[in-house]
Every structure is written in C-alpha cells, then in structure tokens.
C-alpha cells in the first residue's frame, strides 16, 4: 500500500473528524477511542480511456486503472459530451480485468499436438507459427486457390482497424472473408426488403422521446443494459410500454403490459394490428401515398408493377403508375423524388382497368389494395388463434399504438431470429409506415441487434487500392452452397480448405454446430486468433494470442449511440500477445512479399485514412487528436434518426448503407419508395409479395407431434454471447450452471423437478443441462440462453447442437453481403426434453 504524503496529511486531518464522530455517535453508544482515519484512494500509475467492444452493441467508454502493469479497476469513463449517455457500461465490461489477467488468457502462440479438439497444444515462437501458417496457406493457395481459405471475423463495426486488417489482408492475399451480421441472424431482412437499407435504428437516446413503446422480441433490460435507462426516462414522462415476449423477461417485469406470445408468430400479430388500425380508421394514408408504394399500381395478371413502358411506347421502366381518382386515369411517378404528382388523388384501394401499349387491357390494383387483401384475413379471432394473444387485447394494443404519437417499435433478436423473420420485419415496417412513425423522433421501427454498423468510410483501409476481398456468407461455409444461392456470391470453385477464425467463438456460436464440425474434415488448416482459451481455440491447429482492447489501438462505433471512439492501450500486451494488424502484416510479408508494403500501416495511419475518407461525411471535422481526448459525436443529426432526408426533403429511398455503394442497395427498391409490395419473381413464386405470415419452419425436419417444444436461445445478461462466460465474479452470482427454463406444466408432464439434470434433443443434436422450472416460461417452449461454454454443460457441445443453418431463398433474391444475404433463424428450432437424473444426484 502506497502512502503518498498527500494521503498522510488527509489522514491526519481526518483523525480529528472521526474522533469527533465517535462522540456524536449513534444512539447511546460511547465512543471516543481514536481510529486511524480512512485515507484517500490508493495511488495508481495510469488511468487510460478505452472502449469496451465485445460483440455487444454497447461500445462503452471505459477507464482502465493501472498499477504495476496490471489493470486493477475498470470503470465507465462517463465522459460523453451528451451527458444523457453517462455512464455507459455494464457489470461485464467493468469486470473485464478478471479476463485480461484471468486463467483462460492465452499467453503464447500454440501449436496443436493432440487430435483436433483435444485441447493439447505446445507453446511455440511467433516465427514458428507464422512460418507454419504462411507455408500452409501457400500450399492451400497453390493447390485449391487462395479463395478456398475462409476468414471468419465477427462484426466489423466494433473495431474498424484491427478487424479491417482482416479484410485488407484478405484482399491482398485473395482470401475469402466471411460475414457476420447475416450469419448472426441479426440482419433484419424485412429492412432491405421494405426500406432498402441494411438496418436503420434510432439512437438509444431517442427512446426517451417516445410516448408509446412497443417491444417485440427485444429484452433491453438484459441486452441493452447501458441504454435501458432511456426507456425509464420515457416512462417517467408518462409513456406506456408494452412488451411482447413468450417469456417473462427482465424487460417484461418493467412493462405496463406483458403480452405472452406464441413463439415465431409476431408477423401474425403485426398483421392483426395493421388490420385493426385500418378498420378503426387510424391509418395515415397520406403518409402511405407520399412515401410508400401503397398507391403504385400492380398488374394483376403478372403481379409486376405497371410501368410507363407498359402503357406508353418508349416510356420509362423507372416510372410507375398510380390511379388518379381525380382524373379517373393513371398518372406516372418517377424515382427521383418521393410524393405524388400535384393535383392527383392517388387511389390506395380498388381495382382498375388499364389499356397497355399493345392494346390489351389488364386489371391493376394499388399496392395497398393487395396488402389489404392479406390484412383482411387477419381478424382478431384468427390472430388470437395463431399468436395466443386475445382478440380484444390486440384491439386495445392497435388503438394505443396508432393513437399515441410518437410511438416506437423496438424489435430484437427474439422476433428477428426466425426463418421467416423477414416477414415479421415487413409487418412491423408496415405498422410504422401506416402510422406515420417513420423518420420521426420518438417513433420509428428500430431493430436493435448486433454491432454490425459501419458508420465511417472504411473503404480505403479495408480495400487497398480499391481491391475488395471476396465475401461469401459464412452460412455457406457451414452448410455448403444452396441451390438457390445468388449467382453473384463468389463461392470458391474448389470449396473451402482453410479456416481462420478471429474475433469470434465460431464453434460455440455458429448454428447447427455439428454440421460445422463436419467441415473440419476438409480443412487442411484451422487458425484461431483469440485471447481466451475458448472452445473454438481447442479445435485450432495453430493458435495466435491476441491483445485485448486494453492492450491495443482501434476505432469503434455502434448503432446504439452516435459517438466515434478509440480503443487505446492501457497496458502492454499480456504475455506474447499481439495485435491482429501485426499478425496479418507478418503473414502477408511471408506469403506475398510484393504486397507487404500495403500492410506497413500503423493503427494511427489507418485511422487517419478513415477519417480523411469521411471528411465530408460522417467524420467531418473529426481529428485523431479529438478522439484521443474522448468520444466524438459523428456528423449525424441529433437525435440520430434514419430517413430524415426522405421524410423531410422527399429524397428517394434508400439512404446509403456503408460500406456498400448506393447503387448496390438501391437495387432492392426499384420504386425507390418504402416497398410494402415486392414484385421480384421469387416473392411471387413463394406468395410473399405482401407482408404475410408463415408458420415456423425449422428446416421442415421436425414434426411438432414428435418435437412438441420450441427451443429458444436468447442472449444472457451475464455474458456477451460466450464472452465473459468464464468471468469468475459473475459466475459467483449465477452459479455457473446452464439452466433450462421450462414451464411447470411442461416439466410435470415429463416428471421433471427443479434442478433435475435434463437432456434437450432433436434430430440435429443433444446436450444436457439443469432444469429451472418457472412460470416465467411460456407453455410449449423451453429457453436456455446462448453463449454458455461447452465445459459448463453436463454433456454436449451446447445449445447450437440443436439450431438450424437453413437458408431462406427470399434472402437470396439479391446479394449484398450483410445487407441482403441469408439471415440465420436461431429461435426457429423444435426439440423435446427428457429427465436424466434427480437434482440431488445431478
């Protein structure tokens, strides 16, 4: 303990105080004997500001307090200029030092000595492992092509430089880089389909401006810990909050009303609500006319929109028809600007006859007419039957949502992580549009999922001289190419023969994990870069020890708040760990010396590149020096709300989704409007042109009669996925044992008592955990949060033995990686449960 002079003086001063205190002490207690004064805090060597950035979306500024080269405390920096964001951080982030210096920390490079998965390794020098990897990659590259090496790295948004280095090196070496936002099932396909964007959420601060909050499959109390207070701010100002969740989640406990929905039926709820809103004449048709394709005429013969070219010889293919009720004839709208032609009154219902250029006549109907034909079928009773939520509750909810402005829909993984999650998204998009809540503070349809968001121009860093890495959705790595795969996907000609996993715990977090294990047979090289001895690391041939975000420099941002932040080294890399940039630099130098120069860029230089590239955009006026001083608000509106330009200036949809060029995503919306109706061939083939409902699918392999239970794997408040799964402090709280949440009825039907050891199984796999019997669970579904380490289960690899890797063909209609690309349906999974042993002997 260090006694600085200052402290000693304070001490002396305080002796008097405490003595006096004694005298005036509690009740009739006599005190008076001197006690040593409590001095100020012990000194530290350094306090460094960095950013916590697991795959979390929090992106919370943290202070690292350093003594003797060790981080002895982590605490929120609470230095956001917008003080509404202070403090930012959760119990996990502020206990990260137990991992930095923890027992699972990888201290040196490792080379496998035993079987794959045996976890037997020997220490090795950096030169040895780098030469080994370079050699193997060359061999694979020459034999199969470099694109047969798959680099799987999670969520680029949480570390533009080090994760960008993956892309940069992949581009230089011609490796195939995987995807994460789609692979994680987070990509809300309803967004690109309806709004033409990857995703578009309001910054968390804007929740406070809402009057009505409808949470669909989102559990911010457990998964948005640093932001959830904004919900309370809204509630304190009199807002109402409704939580739709099959389980009584932490968030449900804070809701005004909790609606226990049947899993996977949110789309039906959305449609039922939409119908009620129309029937109660609460729909905002002016908004629909101005911003959506509701008035655009669709040919009933083909199901394709009526275009100028169909009617007028030499007409444009990019001009669409509306039915002008004023003139009783079609009028034309272009794609350069939203809104309706002046003087027209566009029909949004009915069917009309139009004569085509070739003289033939066709029946046409406004888009919304077709939407309505679907909605009509969603009477209160039918919706109630599907969702399990009573008809009159649906009526009340519809009224409250539509009549209270602004009203926000917050959708989460629980609703999105389904094979047909896109339909749910489309239904919610419809609700927000028909109530005019788009582009409106306190309103909106926000899907809060992974930390996917690339907020800055990473182009010059990720793509050296504009060369891009081949990007193949990682689901195709797990499952192989699908028959319906989009032709633009650069799937390697010779399949995959090498795997590099970095910033990811693939063998725990990937879907259908047994299938993933089968791919190992075909892999000549598996490299894993991590700083914790994870399950994935155990399957590696070569392990590279990474530095944590307390030991290196990076640049990060998140969808939840608009601040650009640095990760800065508080301590030297622990053991022999290194930064990813350094590793890739060394590998490129060994594999392609001629390219080495391109990797000779420091973190700071890379950051400068990115800042410069966005100088007239997101990073306008931001310097590295500013960032070193603390978080800097990006050049975005305040509050940061999507679609403002569209709503206020009638700019056509979609706004750009970085890093993709606008042309790529604009192709999602031929009408350049919010598209409630989709005309692409596959939508028509599958009968999903308008928002509709489909039963959960689960690869079509599980007969509900045989596998009666839905298996839900939401995210745990105690971990970020598997990260922090080995946090000793948090384990003291939750007990470190995976518990399967099951309803008393489902439990007793299977003779399961609380604490019993149970097996959860389906055709894809099985694992064993302990039963937690509670009314918090819905009848007919069991829940076990994802991310538990396999070693914590009684048996099995964990929850992802059961989940599906099925690909939805609709997600393959276009292809822009992470934007219109196959999104995983984690929760779309059936199972059954059997009792193995009593709680006592379990």
């Amino acid at each position: 303990m260090t006694v600085s002079r200052r402290r000693f003086l304070k001490g002396a001063a305080a002796v008097g105080a405490t003595t006096a205190a004694a005298a005036g002490g509690a009740g009739f207690v006599l005190l008076g004997r001197d006690h040593p004064a409590v001095a100020a805090s012990e000194g530290v060597d350094r306090v460094v500001r960095t950013t916590c950035s697991p795959n979390c979306t929090g992106s919370c500024g943290q202070l690292a307090f350093v003594r003797d080269g060790k981080v002895v405390k982590v605490q929120q920096a609470a230095d956001y200029p917008d003080t509404a964001y202070n403090p930012r951080g959760c119990m996990k982030g502020i206990s990260y030092h137990t991992l930095i210096h923890g027992r699972d920390r990888i201290l040196t490079p490792l080379i496998r000595t035993g079987e794959r998965g045996s976890g037997e390794f020997r220490r090795a020098t950096w030169d040895e492992v780098l030469d080994r990897i370079a050699g193997d990659m060359k061999r694979i590259g020459e034999r199969w092509g470099y694109d047969s090496i798959h680099v799987f790295g999670q969520v680029p948004g949480s570390g533009y430089i080090q994760k960008g280095a993956n892309y940069r090196a992949s581009a230089l070496l011609g490796l195939t880089h995987g995807t994460s936002f789609d692979f994680n099932g987070d990509l809300p396909m309803g967004m690109p389909i309806t709004f033409g964007v990857q995703n578009a959420e309001h910054e968390a601060k804007d929740w406070a401006n809402s009057r009505f909050l409808l949470l669909i499959g989102a559990n911010p109390v457990e998964t948005r810990i640093p932001d959830v207070h904004f919900l309370f701010d809204a509630l304190e100002r009199g807002a109402q909050m409704v939580v739709v969740d099959p389980n009584f989640s932490g968030t449900a406990s804070k809701a005004d009303t909790w609606l226990q929905i049947r899993p996977g039926t949110d789309a039906a709820l959305g449609l039922g609500l939409a119908r009620e809103i129309v029937v109660r004449e609460l729909a905002d048709f002016d908004f629909l006319r101005t911003y959506t394709d509701a008035p655009l005429l669709v040919r009933l013969d083909t199901g394709v929109r009526l275009r100028e070219a169909d009617v007028v010889a030499g007409g444009s293919d990019a001009r669409f028809a509306i039915w002008d009720e004023a003139a009783g004839q079609p009028a034309w709208v272009g794609t350069e600007r939203l809104g309706m032609p002046d003087g027209t009154r566009a029909a949004v219902s009915g069917t009309y006859r139009v004569r085509l250029a070739d003289g033939s006549a066709v029946q046409v109907a406004p888009g919304f007419e077709l939407v309505w034909r679907e909605l009509e079928r969603w009477t209160g009773d039918r919706t109630a039957e599907v969702t399990g939520i009573s008809a009159e509750m649906i009526g009340r909810l519809a009224h409250a949502y539509a009549a209270t402005k602004p009203a926000a829909i917050l959708m989460g993984g629980g609703a999105n992580h389904w094979f047909h999650g896109d339909l749910t998204g489309r239904a919610m998009g419809l609700l927000a549009s028909m109530t005019g809540n788009i582009g409106r503070s306190g309103g909106g349809f926000s899907v809060y999922v992974g930390q996917y968001k690339v907020r800055v121009n990473v182009g010059p860093w990720n793509n050296p001289d504009g060369v891009k890495a081949h990007i193949v959705p990682s689901i195709y790595f797990v499952r192989g190419r699908s028959d319906t795969m989009h032709p633009d996907v650069p799937y390697p000609a010779n399949g995959f023969h090498g795997l590099v996993v970095t910033f990811a715990n693939m063998f725990v977090q990937a879907p259908d994990v047994n299938r993933l294990h089968q791919t190992l047979a075909g892999l000549d090289l598996v490299v894993v870069v991590d700083h914790q001895m994870t399950e994935t690391v155990r399957w590696a041939d070569v392990v590279l020890p990474a530095a944590t975000w307390y030991e290196k420099t990076d640049l990060t941002a998140t969808p939840l708040h608009p601040f650009l932040q640095l990760q800065q080294a508080a301590i030297d890399p622990v053991g022999e760990s290194r930064t990813e940039l350094w590793m890739w630099r060394e590998l490129v130098r060994r594999i392609a010396p001629d390219q080495a120069a391109a990797m000779d860029v420091s973190e700071d230089e890379a950051i400068e590149m990115i800042l410069a590239a966005g100088a007239d955009g997101p990073t306008k006026g931001i310097t590295l020096a500013d960032l070193r001083a603390g978080p800097v608000r990006l050049n975005v509106p305040d509050p940061d709300i999507p679609f403002l330009k569209q709503i206020e200036d009638l700019e056509p949809f979609p706004p750009v989704s970085l890093p993709a060029p606008i042309e790529a995503t604009a192709a999602f919306l031929p009408t350049r409007r919010i598209e409630l109706y989709k005309e692409e061939q596959r939508f028509r083939d599958l009968g999903e042109t308008v928002p509709t409902y489909r039963d959960p699918h689960d690869d079509g392999v599980h007969d509900p009669a045989v596998y009666p239970l839905t298996f839900l794997t939401p995210h745990s408040k105690w971990r970020i996925h598997s990260t922090y799964g080995n946090n000793p402090w948090l384990a003291e709280i939750h007990g470190g044992r995976p518990k399967l949440l099951i309803h008393p009825d489902d439990a007793s039907r299977r003779g399961i008592e609380p604490g019993d050891l149970v097996e959860v199984y389906n055709t894809r796999g099985a694992f064993r955990a302990w039963a937690e019997v509670s009314e918090a669970a819905g009848i007919g579904s069991v829940t076990l949060p994802e991310g538990w380490w396999p070693r914590d289960f009684a048996a099995g690899k964990g929850v992802n033995e059961l989940t599906t890797s099925e690909v939805n063909p609709i997600h393959e209609v276009h292809f822009v990686a992470n934007m219109w690309s196959p999104s995983t349906g984690w929760k779309d999974c059936r199972c059954d449960v059997r009792r193995i042993a009593g709680s006592s002997d379990a």
Partner: protein
C-alpha cells in the same frame, strides 16, 4: 515505491465532473437513494464494489435481491407474474445494532454518518454480523481467494479473521467523489447525497417519491432509502 497519483486526480475533467458530489456538503449526513423502478438487477454496482474494494471471491459487500421465486425469476401473484430487484449493502444505520454490540468499538459511526470498521482493532467475534438485520457483513474466514490472484481496486485488503462490509467508499468521499456503485449504475437507480440538506437530490427524492426504509420496524434508521416501483398502466 513508484510515484503514484490518486486515481481521482488522473481523471479527465469530464469524468471527474461526472463523479463529483453535488452539491458538496460541509457537515453532511451521507445517504443513498435506490430507485427500484429503475433498477434492472444488473449487479454492476455489486461488481464494481468488489473491484473497487478488492473484495475476495465468496464475499460481496453489495448484492441484488430478486423480489421473486429465485434469482431473476418472478413470483406469480393471482395469475400475474411480478418481479423487481432490491440492491442491498450496508444501510449505514443511524441507530446501528452492529455499532452497539461491537465489544471493542472496532465498528463505529463517523460524524458524517458512515458506519465504519477498524480492521486493526476487530477481534473477529462476529457479534456485529449477528446483530445486523440486513446480512450485509462478511467475515474473512481464511486466506482471501482472488480471480487468478488478481488484486484489484483502490483500498487495502482486510486481514484474515476480521469482518468487513460496505464502507460507503469513504476513500472516495475523502476526495469529493461519489461511491463507486453510484458512479457505475447504468440505470441511474442509485443517487448519493446529504440527507441533512433538504434541497439535496436524495432528500427531494425521498420526499417526492416516498422513499422507504428497509425493515423500518427494527428501528435501525437506515440511511439508504428505497423508492417504490411506479404504478403500471395496463392496456
């Protein structure tokens, strides 16, 4: 001994301002308000307490109780699920049983109301643990266990065979900074201040939102007050 500086002095102006006790008080009676409506049971306050005060494994000065069947599990009140959280650490009772029973005055009450312990004097009789109605005291039963041996925080570890508990982060108060748990609560559910100052935020909250004492009937006069949950507005 390397030349070290107070962690408070090393804070950036923004961070330091965030943690400053506002308004500063000359002769305070420190107290805390916990808003159970805002509390999300995240344990950030408990974890940072452990980190700040170098509390060994197996010991917690601060913990979050679930008003329910089990950790984060609801109770079912006539067909309706309900759950809330009650963070619990030393209540710094003005009429503190632990102070009364300590045979050697190792537990004492400071002028600012903090109930403090003198680890050098404690004989380890654990009578204070018997006397405390809130079960917030913990004993150093054996050699402290720490995660991979990592020593954390800003205060000295307490010796084996002595008792310890929440100190209201007196070491931080000395430097005009709020307790660590107050700093780190992401939900804004913990508010710190002078209960004797009628205009302090804590005093106002206690007045306006009927701040309650825990186990008030025991007459311990806690200086931690709990704000009850709001009334729900059913659809």
């Amino acid at each position: 001994m390397p030349d070290r500086r107070s962690p408070v002095d090393l804070l950036s102006p923004a961070s330091r301002a965030y943690g400053a006790i506002e308004p500063p008080s000359s002769s305070p009676r420190w107290g805390m308000v916990v808003d159970t409506e805002r509390c999300i049971g995240c344990w950030s306050c408990a974890v940072v307490c452990k980190s700040e005060n170098n509390v060994p494994l197996g010991m917690w000065w601060n913990r979050i109780l679930t008003e329910g069947e089990g950790l984060d599990l609801p109770t079912t009140e006539h067909g309706r699920e309900e759950m809330s959280w009650t963070p619990l650490a030393c209540q710094h009772c003005d009429n503190a049983p632990c102070v009364k029973v300590c045979p050697v005055q190792a537990t004492y009450r400071r002028e600012d109301g903090v109930v403090m312990m003198d680890s050098a004097r404690c004989i380890g009789c654990r009578y204070c643990m018997i006397a405390c109605p809130y079960g917030v005291r913990t004993f150093n039963w054996g050699a402290p266990a720490r995660p991979n041996g990592l020593e954390t925080g800003m205060v000295e570890a307490r010796p084996v065979g002595t008792v310890e508990k929440c100190t209201l982060c007196v070491h931080r108060l000395e430097e005009g900074q709020v307790p660590s748990c107050v700093w780190s609560c992401p939900a804004g559910a913990r508010i710190f201040g002078d209960l004797d100052d009628p205009d302090s935020r804590v005093s106002r909250l206690v007045r306006d939102r009927q701040g309650e004492m825990l186990l008030e009937e025991k007459g311990t006069l806690p200086k931690v007050r709990y704000l009850p949950p709001r009334r729900r507005r059913e659809l």
